[in-house]
């Protein structure tokens, strides 16, 4: 892909957008770049559609990274996934099968305004950058703003809190744009994967309540096999299970919304590590983290292609 583009370092929003434009031009048979809307500050919300145009109708997988601005390893993984797909499509039978039978919608940076702000102003910024009329705080937690049990347990109504759910569901243009796209394509999209950090977990619904999803056996086995595939790389263990009991209860999350809207496999990855570096995972760990996560994502994708 982009000559000299280094996938083992973190990139600014501008560099990532240049990278997407380059791929769109250079790999037009496998990559199609489009925007699902504009952010609060007016930046385009780019998505890469990845896959061989082998037949008119294909199922799809949605992958987003960077919902929380400070979790830089997320966008690094989205870029890594695209690189691996393009580089191994010809040589890896599994990847060839995946790109022939599926489309992947990859959103490398969901929260573009927040990510840019974490590069230029506050490395530990989490939320979007929308302004609040009554308080002097910015931003909404883009993973508490979805229309599913909105602003219930595990979200805050206070605009200055890190888990502020927003003035109303889908108040954030970024959330509204992606929700609109996923709603429009929900019959095509069979899996929703969202990448966060840090905790080393693979989570599935529900976040907003302690209950078991109807297709628990299929989702649980996919998660079990995925974390085992991940661990096979370097022995790194990921916990897995329903988000509410594995991490904590939270309402208004994208994963719960995707599941509620008919996407049968919805996962949230909490990538490395468990706190030694936290959000400051060094660049030297990008490669092992992304390599092991690739195994998990390929495992989930191939599970999708089989009947469960």
């Amino acid at each position: 892909s982009l000559p000299g583009y280094n996938y083992e370092v973190y990139h600014s929003l501008e560099e990532i957008e240049d990278w997407m434009h380059y791929l769109n031009t250079t790999y037009s048979d496998l990559v199609y770049m489009f925007s699902v809307g504009k952010s609060y500050e007016g930046r385009p919300l780019y998505v890469l559609k990845l896959g061989k145009r082998s037949r008119p109708y294909k199922k799809a997988v949605w992958i987003d990274c960077g919902i929380h601005a400070r979790e830089w390893i997320g966008p690094a993984f989205c870029q890594w996934f695209v690189k691996e797909a393009l580089q191994t499509y010809q040589t890896d039978p599994d990847m060839r099968k995946m790109l022939t039978q599926l489309y992947f919608y990859i959103m490398p940076v969901f929260n573009v305004d927040g990510y840019h702000f974490s590069w230029t102003n506050d490395r530990f910024w989490r939320k979007t950058r929308s302004k609040n009329m009554r308080f002097h705080c910015h931003g909404v937690d883009a993973n508490r703003n979805w229309k599913v049990k909105w602003c219930d347990e595990g979200a805050s109504l206070h605009p200055c809190d890190d888990t502020y759910c927003g003035p109303f569901p889908e108040s954030e243009p970024e959330v509204k744009a992606v929700a609109h796209f996923l709603r429009k394509h929900r019959k095509q999209i069979k899996a929703y994967l969202s990448f966060h950090a840090y905790a080393q977990m693979l989570l599935y619904p529900y976040s907003y309540k302690y209950a078991t999803i109807p297709n628990f056996n299929c989702v649980e086995s996919a998660a079990y096999n995925a974390v085992n595939a991940l661990q096979s790389a370097y022995g790194v263990r990921y916990r897995y299970g329903p988000a509410s009991s594995t991490l904590y209860v939270s309402s208004g999350s994208s994963m719960d919304w995707a599941y509620k809207n008919g996407i049968p496999y919805a996962f949230a990855f909490e990538l490395r590590d468990t706190g030694h570096f936290g959000f400051l995972l060094p660049e030297m760990l990008i490669k092992p983290t992304c390599t092991e996560t690739m195994l998990a994502v390929k495992n989930i994708t191939l599970h999708l292609l089989k009947k469960c």
């Binding site: 280094n6 200055c160 706190g275 936290g278 400051l280 660049e283």
Partner: protein, 99 residues
């Protein structure tokens, strides 16, 4: 630093509440001090037996850490200088570019 956030001597500490009493003390303290909680995402989610990672600005170090000691709540310092850790995060790059 290009990142603007002046984090000299900001620390990342980890606390693991060992009782309901400690859990309530930490929730109240972190709510009042408006600290930057890294894990979990809000004080509401702090529970007994589970770790909480919190970024403590230099000015709050002098109040929060003694407070934890007085409350007899154990803590460990995960990162003692966040500014340095930010620079270390991309240290490889500068090293690589020098090469």
């Amino acid at each position: 630093s290009t990142l603007g956030a002046f984090l000299e001597h900001d620390k990342l500490i980890r606390v693991v509440p060992e009782s309901e009493r400690e859990t309530q003390i930490l929730r109240a303290a972190f709510n009042r001090l408006k600290v930057d909680l890294w894990q979990p995402s809000s004080p509401f989610h702090i529970v007994e037996g589970a770790f909480a990672d919190v970024r403590v600005p230099q000015n709050a170090t002098r109040s929060l850490l003694p407070f934890l000691q007085q409350a007899n709540i154990q803590y460990t310092i995960l990162i003692s200088d966040l500014q340095q850790a930010i620079e270390n995060q991309t240290a490889g790059r500068s090293h690589r570019s020098r090469r």
